[in-house]
Amino acid sequence: MTIVLLTALISVILAFFFYKQIHKYKYILYGFFGLLALVVSESGNIITLGFVPFGIFLVVMYTGVLDKGIVRKRLALVRAEYAIIGSILLLPHAIGYLEIYLDEVFPKLAGWSQLFGVLAFLTMIPLFVTSFQFIRKKFSYKEWKSLHKVAYVSYLFIFAHLLILNNDRFFYYLAITVVYIALKVPTVYKWIEKRKKT
């Protein structure tokens, strides 16, 4: 878990101080991380095991539940970039494990955790594609926003994938899930109340 948390921490610090540069040079960053994902894809490491992408996704997820202020503002400015980088780095993890399960392990032996992992990956594909600015421009703000509500389904699949793994990091994953849901509930409640009034 040290790797996941350190990745999240470094991502927050970089976003806070270099949000302008991250936004400006995003395509260079996508290219760099794309190459990195290709290079590391054949071995077991912090990217293919999913630790680094999960650390980045934690920042993307939790940005939505932060209090309004400078931290949230700066993280929100690079949220799309982080989501794309996280998805790029997730590819070796998702494709690598899928390959192993399809080639070496009969799919029927794959457990619920793997199934939720695949579902999380599949629901992330449209989000990943529509996070690119030039594709985002083809949608109206309302359409894009509605589509990106799928992200919450994807988060649920990720949480299920991690919790059902039931490994040594179970309690960390449980804490991350419970705190995220607890912080999100008031926002959802406010949103429902607002919709009732209008």
Binding site: T2, I3, A8, N45, L66, D67, V71, V179
Partner: protein, 66 residues
Amino acid sequence: MMKNKILLALAAFMLTISFVNEPIQDTIDIVAGATNQTYGTSVDSYASASTNGSYDDDGYEEEDDD
């Protein structure tokens, strides 16, 4: 600012616990690209690969002479 404080406390707590529970050498090893017991991969056992401390020792069984 309540949510930010909760998250900061959670992050600090989890980071401390993970530093205590996960050997720093294993963390350095996995960053360098070597998997280990702390940062292993559970798929190995499904794929019939032996895991730490549980190798298949059938080949080392002594045969009876008689």
